[in-house]
Structure formats: C-alpha cells, structure tokens
C-alpha cells in the first residue's frame, strides 16, 4: 500500500509540474486580466498618469454615450442577419455535398478555401470586388441589367457588404462541421421514416434537424460570439463608415482604449459587451432547448 501511495504522490508531483506552465500563463493572461478589467472599469486609467477610482462614472457616461449604443445597434443588426444565414447556407451546402458523387471532394475543397483567408486579406480582395465602377460584383450585376450600388460607401449597403464577406469566409468550416454531423445521423432513422411514408421535407423536419441540434447549437454559439466581436472586416472594408453605420463595439473599444487612451472607460464598454455576449448566448441556448421540447 505504501508503495502505491508513493507512486500516486510521485504522479501528482509530475502532473503539477507538467501543467505548471499552462496554469501560470492562464493566471497571468486570463485570471489576472479579468479581475483587472473589472477594476479598471471603475477607474480613469489612461496609461500615462491617471489611475484613480471614479466609482460608477464610466458606467454612467456609457449610458448616455450615443455612439456606443449605435455600435451595439450595428452589431445587433449584423448578428441577426449573419447568424441565421450562416446556419442556413452552411447546412444547405453540407446536405448537398453530403451526397457521394463524383467531384464532391473538389466542390468541398472549393467551398472550404475562403475560410483559409485572413480577415484582412479577404477584406482587401473584396474591396476590389465591390468597387462601384470596376468591381466584379457590379459588372456581373450589370450583365443582368442591374446597376449595382457603391457597396462600401453607401449607408444602406455597407453592413450588407460586411455580412457578405464574413459569410463567404465562414461558410466553409461550418459546412465541414455540418457534414460531420450529418454523417453521424444513423441511417435506420431515415429507413424507418421512409417506411412510415415520410416525405423528404418531413424527414428533414423530424430527423435531420433535431439530430443536428448539438451541431447547430455549436455553430450558432460560435458565430454569435464571433459576430458580436466583429472587428477586422469592419476595420479594413469600411473603417467603420460611412457615418458610423459599420462601427462595432470592439472597434470603438479599440479606439477609445488605444487611440484616445481612455482605458478605464474602454474597460467599462468591454464589460457591457461581454454581458451582451453572455445574454445572447443564453438566449441562443434557450432557443435550442425549446426546439428540443417541440420535437
């Protein structure tokens, strides 16, 4: 017995040694920053000289900060359109390319390629594609007799352009996730549904969709969290313009914190954004749960 407990002690010592770099980095770059972010949000920290406690001043100021709420409205608009489209299109393409047919692998590869691009490179390419006069998009629309808008320069289409670009970039990996999910749905469910005379739509409604619920939950959660923290594409495509319609909370926090050095105030903004992300995630969880009880 003594030797077993000795072995266990030795094992535990080794284990703590093995995890110590990870835990150390985790404490320094996650635990400490979270606590500090909370503290900063009650101070007027500005990097240069101030770091005084200011109670709820930052939060009070935030309530009346129209620009801050505009960025929230922008990103909410973005999320509400982007997330459902992302799920719908990814699932649609996954169902299409789940067939075993000649060339399917090539199609999957072509659909996956955009997810390899960085946000900056993708945005750069799309700035050119969406060029009002010489861009490919408006040229193609021109073939159909439509005069395309100045995508990135008009208030009505700027956010739609960002949605288009981010969809282009994110569909591929979600498609792969959905294909993996589809392949996990047991065949006998479809067989028995066919015997019961269920048509294709009913089979989708009562087998595919509920069986993919965990996958959909994953995809929607990840895209909501990503969508509410949109930055790169907005920064490169439109610089937040025109007239702030594509300015996002992260963009504003970045400017407030690192351009204007109002880090205390920016921390308060970041906390409220995190709260919003939490709320959206919970709502999403509820929606997915209710789906379960219906089926």
């Amino acid at each position: 017995m003594a030797s077993i407990s000795k072995l266990n002690r030795h094992q535990a010592r080794t284990a703590y040694l093995f995890i110590s770099p990870t835990i150390l980095l985790f404490v320094i770059f996650t635990v400490v920053p979270v606590v500090m972010a909370f503290y900063f949000s009650f101070t007027n920290y500005d990097v240069v000289k101030n770091r005084d406690w200011v109670n709820f001043d930052n939060y009070k100021r935030l309530l009346h900060d129209d620009l801050y709420w505009t960025t929230f409205k922008n990103v909410a608009y973005y999320t509400v359109i982007f997330v459902p489209l992302n799920i719908l299109i990814s699932l649609g393409i996954a169902m299409l390319l789940n067939f075993r047919r000649l060339g399917v692998r090539l199609f999957r590869t072509m659909n996956y390629m955009p997810t390899l691009t960085s946000a900056v490179a993708a945005a750069t390419v799309w700035v050119w594609l969406l060029h009002p006069e010489y861009g490919l998009v408006n040229t193609l629309l021109g073939y159909a007799g439509i005069t395309g808008p100045a995508w990135l320069a008009q208030t009505e289409t700027a956010m739609l352009s960002i949605i288009l670009v981010t969809l282009w970039q994110s569909i591929g990996s979600n498609m792969i996730i959905y294909i993996a999910g589809l392949q996990g749905v047991p065949d006998y469910l479809y067989e028995s549904a066919k015997l019961d005379g269920a048509n294709a739509l009913q089979r989708f409604r009562y087998i595919t969709w509920p069986q993919l619920r965990p996958t959909t939950f994953l995809v929607s959660t990840m895209s909501i969290i990503g969508a509410l923290q949109l930055f790169d594409q907005a920064f490169v495509l439109t610089q937040g313009g025109p007239g702030n319609v594509t300015k996002t909370p992260v963009y504003l926090i970045y400017q407030q914190g690192f351009n204007q050095l109002q880090m205390g105030y920016a921390s308060a903004q970041a906390f409220i954004l995190a709260l919003a992300i939490l709320i959206f995630s919970i709502v999403n969880m509820r929606v997915n749960k209710s789906e379960e009880s219906v089926v």
Binding site: V34, G103, V120, L129, I177, Y178, V236, M263
Partner: protein, 309 residues
C-alpha cells in the same frame, strides 16, 4: 432553396416504384451538378479574380468592359508589393510569430493534455473545468488588462521588479507569443486525444522503471503525431491571420506582421489594386499551401471540434 429541393429530389428519386425512375434520377443528377458548380464557382471567384488582377498590366485593371483574361501576364505588381513596402520582412515576422506559437502550443498543450488525461492528481477535474469555462470569456474583456500586464511585466524591457520604468513586453514579439503560448484549446484538444490512447503502456513502462517525463516523451508523444499535425495547422492559421492584437502590441514598423502590412498598404494605396491583390494573395499563400499539403488533417480537426465541442 434550390439546395433543399435538390436534396429532397435526390431522396425522392431513390424511391423504387417510380415510373420514370431513371429519367428523374438523371434530372436530379443534373440539378445536383448545376447547383454545386454554381456555388463552388461563386466561392472560388474572388480567388480567381484577385489572381487575374494581380497578373494584369496596370492599364487593363481599369478597363471597361472588364477583361476576364489579361492580354499578357506580368509580375510587376508583385515586385511593387515587395518594394513599396517591406513585404518580405513582414512575411518573415509573421512566419516567426506563427511558428513560435505552434511550437509553444504543441509542447505545453500536450504536456498539460497528457497530465489531465493520464495522471491522477487531486485538482485534475476542477482545474480542467476552470480552463474550459474560461474559453467562454470573450477576448475583448482581457484585451486592455493584458496590455497592462505586458507593459508592466517585471524585469522585461527595462522594467524593474515592480514592473515600472520600461515598456515591458510592448513592441516585442514576446507580447504576442506569451499570452497565447498555451491556449486552453490546445490543452483541451490534446487531452481528448490522450484519452483515446490506452493506459496500460504507462503501467508497463513504470514497471520497467521509466520516469514520468520519459513515459510522456518516449512513449506517448510519438503516438500523437496526427493530433499534433491538426493542432499545429490550426494554431499556425490563427497566428498567421491574427490582426488586432499584433496591431496593439507592435508599434515598430520593422516588427509589423503581414496582416498589418497588408492593411496599411491597402489603406494608403487605395487605388493600387494590382499590388493590393498581389499582397493579399501572398498573405493567403502559406495557409493555402499548408491546406493543400495536409488537407486530411484540416478536415479531421474541424470535424473534431464539431462532434466533441
């Protein structure tokens, strides 16, 4: 919608007692290919168009109507991209950062993943749960304080032990490498993989008198090659493509990453679409090559995060 009807149609076509079964099968096969090709072409078009633009002579870029194929191919835009800004240097910086991130994550991630999967210790479950839960914290919350921590890191960049006096890890590659050196995802991913490996090899090695680190290093680590490949690819992609954090940490133009260089270039040279497209393609190229060489691991990795996540 056509996607759904194609799926529905293909399923319907496979039902046995249809009168014109083979005719409708051919019909749906055609629908399948038309829709698939249309979608794939749309997804691929931006690559094609940026490539064509980057190889066109300048005067043909702005031609009306557009020229689908250039009259001659030229590399002048690539030359311009490398000479107007130090794109080669940016490329090198990004490569160093991405490779360092991969090396650190593979090593620390599998070390911790091994401990969490194979070793008994009291805090195993609680610590792992905390790491997992922390993955839900949005990055924006820790952005400003992480900057503060790096700036006031003791003994770094001219700082004293109290973290004052210098600029810490600001404007240094460490400011990028350290915060991401052992990501929670790497630990989680490697733990899941180690769980699938049998434990009796460990017992055997212990009886033979091997130390724990040797068990890890000589017996288990070589078995994790597929997982390491997958994790390495994703870590590389994340490091190579990251933009906001390097932009915050690195002020020195000589330390800029390729994403920062590309952004600055497209911001300052808004009408130079030839070099812009050349730059964008150069920024995409390493990941694209990695993907073409190791496609299998990419797909496995995403499927993993989809089924276990």
């Amino acid at each position: 919608m056509s996607v759904k009807s194609a799926a529905a149609g293909a399923a319907r076509a496979s039902r046995p007692p249809a009168v014109s079964a083979s005719a409708s099968r051919v019909f749906w096969r055609i629908v399948f290919y038309v829709v698939s090709i249309a979608i794939s072409v749309f997804m691929f078009l931006p690559f094609f168009w940026s490539l064509i633009t980057s190889l066109k002579p300048s005067d043909e870029i702005f031609s009306m109507p557009i020229r689908w194929l250039p009259s001659r191919l030229t590399l002048e835009h690539y030359r311009a991209a490398f000479t107007t800004v130090p794109f080669g240097l940016y490329f090198w910086n990004s490569l160093m950062l991405a490779v360092a991130g991969v090396a650190a994550n593979l090593f620390f991630g599998s070390l911790s993943g091994f401990a969490f999967a194979k070793l008994n210790f009291k805090l195993n479950k609680p610590l792992f749960r905390v790491l997992l839960a922390a993955m839900m914290i949005p990055g924006i919350v820790t952005m400003i304080p992480s900057f503060y921590v790096l700036k006031h890191f003791p003994f770094a960049g001219g700082n004293d032990w109290y973290g004052a006096g210098g600029n810490g890890f600001l404007n240094s590659f460490w400011g990028i490498i350290l915060p991401g050196a052992s990501g929670s995802f790497a630990v989680f991913f490697m733990r899941q993989f180690f769980l699938t490996l049998p434990s009796d090899m460990m017992e055997m090695a212990r009886i033979e008198g091997a130390g724990e680190f040797r068990i890890f290093w000589n017996i288990y680590w070589p078995l994790t090659k597929p997982a390491l490949a997958t994790l390495g690819i994703f870590t590389f992609q994340a490091g190579w493509n990251s933009f906001l954090w390097p932009m915050i940490i690195l002020n020195d133009p000589d330390k800029a990453t390729i994403q920062m260089g590309l952004q600055a270039f497209s911001y300052n040279h808004q009408t130079d679409f030839g070099p812009m497209m050349a730059g964008a393609l150069i920024a995409i190229l390493p990941i694209l090559l990695l993907f073409l060489a190791l496609q299998k691991y990419f797909v496995q990795g995403i499927a993993f995060s989809g089924t276990k996540g």
